[in-house]
Amino acid sequence: MSRHTVNVTVNGEVVSEEVEARMLLVHFIREVLDLTGTHIGCDTSNCGACTVLLNGRAVKSCTIFAAQVDGGTIETIEALAVDGKLHPLQEGFWEKHGLQCGYCTPGMIMSAKHLLDKNPNPTEEEIRWGISGNLCRCTGYNKIVEAIQYAAEKIEQGDSAEEVSA
């Protein structure tokens, strides 16, 4: 059983920790770094509650070992709000009632973030496709789609507002 030093940038901060080879990234994030916004919803790599961005791509953090991300960059739900101001996606979920119990929400938002980073103006179908790796047992998804549409519009307006003020 080998142990490994993991140097990784998490939400903009460089961390260095020694871990057992078999430690899953989701346990590293939750138990070593104490970032409990990333959830665990299954044992079968099916639910997407554990979704984080690894080097900019949405992945299931329960299906990768922490040792594998050495040298990489991780973004979790905790990175989104800046100085207490919600990210447009978080605001969208709030405004459009994109959550009920909230268990799926952090993973859903990280998947949506990857989608909007790639494709800032997705169609409804592209949104549904983009979040199809994330299960929600409460909402029936419609409100989640609306929340992501809200965020896409908000981000676009924000960008043009910045251009105007610049």
Binding site: R22, S132, G133
Partner: protein
């Protein structure tokens, strides 16, 4: 659940990876996308003593055309196939397949090489590569060798790869263009997004007018080993396409597969679904062949 403990190596060259595999023999497993292996390790269905992570070996992720083939690096992610305009434009059977493998999160890490090397009859790429008549390149202590896909799947979860070999490349013959009308398609019935197939059928064919000049068919998750539907191909090749021929092809595929009953359906249901999917996928491939895209 927590996997059993193991020693982890992350070599940065192919030679180092092969040397590690040779040294540890049957105790070691390659870790690629991890999306079949890690779930199995979490259930302790797999308890390797050593993991050899090949993700740090450069130059194993690529998609390009070369010598009349589409060549795909063994570590290429499913999402890269989805995003490749070359694949979307010229290899619709492969594009169809990549789109229905698992879900977008899985596809960001899962690899094409891993999908084949795992030899899970439920995986989607085996049928597709059988239909394309692809080959794979394996790197071992004595260098590289090429294995025809027809010789690759030898048993449930077992391939022609030696223990010390790494699958480094997949080679798909570029479908003929010009006067020959090539077409391909993949059709999968799944219970929900992200699930393995109840049944799925891959076809790649060449048409001359309404006559099928050549065709290969692959079936997913209706046999213990990924399989080509050879009896169905025989019903199709050289025939002028009509409803009767299609029905005969579908029936042949349903008869020659060997599904098992499980939560996804009974044996009878899976056979009949295979019959229907075979007919539908051939129609789609023929439409594409006539529409001019390969």
């Amino acid at each position: 659940m927590i996997p059993g403990s193991f020693d982890y190596h992350a070599p940065t060259t192919l030679d180092d990876a092969v040397a590690l595999l040779t040294e540890h023999g049957g105790d070691a497993k390659i870790l690629a996308g991890g999306h079949s292996l890690i779930p199995a390790m979490r259930f302790r269905l797999a308890v390797p003593d050593v993991l050899i992570d090949i993700n740090r070996i450069p130059d194993l992720e690529y998609i390009r055309e070369e010598d009349g083939h589409l060549v795909i690096g063994g570590l290429t992610r499913e999402s890269a196939l989805e995003e490749s305009s070359l694949v979307q434009e010229k290899y619709p059977l492969l594009a169809d397949t990549a789109k229905v493998i698992a879900d977008p999160l899985v596809r960001n890490l899962a690899t094409v090489g891993g999908n084949l090397a795992h030899a899970d009859p439920a995986n989607d790429h085996p049928a597709t590569m059988l239909a394309y008549g692809a080959s794979v390149v394996a790197h071992g202590p004595n260098g590289a060798r090429t294995i025809a896909i027809d010789d690759f799947f030898v048993d449930l979860f077992a391939t022609a790869l030696e223990r010390s070999e790494i699958l480094t490349e997949i080679r798909i013959p570029t479908p003929p263009t010009g006067s020959a009308n090539a077409g391909g398609a993949y059709l999968k019935m799944e219970r929900k997004v992200g699930d393995y197939a109840v049944s799925a059928v891959a076809v790649q064919l060449v048409m001359d007018g309404d006559t099928v000049v050549s065709a290969r068919l692959g079936l997913t998750n209706v046999n213990p080993v990924p399989m080509r539907a050879i009896a169905a191909e025989a019903e199709l090749i050289g025939k002028e396409l009509n409803d009767e021929v299609l029905e005969a092809v579908g029936r042949a595929a349903a008869a020659e597969c060997d599904p098992s009953a499980d939560l996804r359906g009974s044996v009878e249901y899976k056979r009949d679904l295979t019959r229907v999917l075979t007919k539908r996928v051939i129609r789609k491939a023929v439409e594409r062949a006539k529409g001019g895209d390969s």
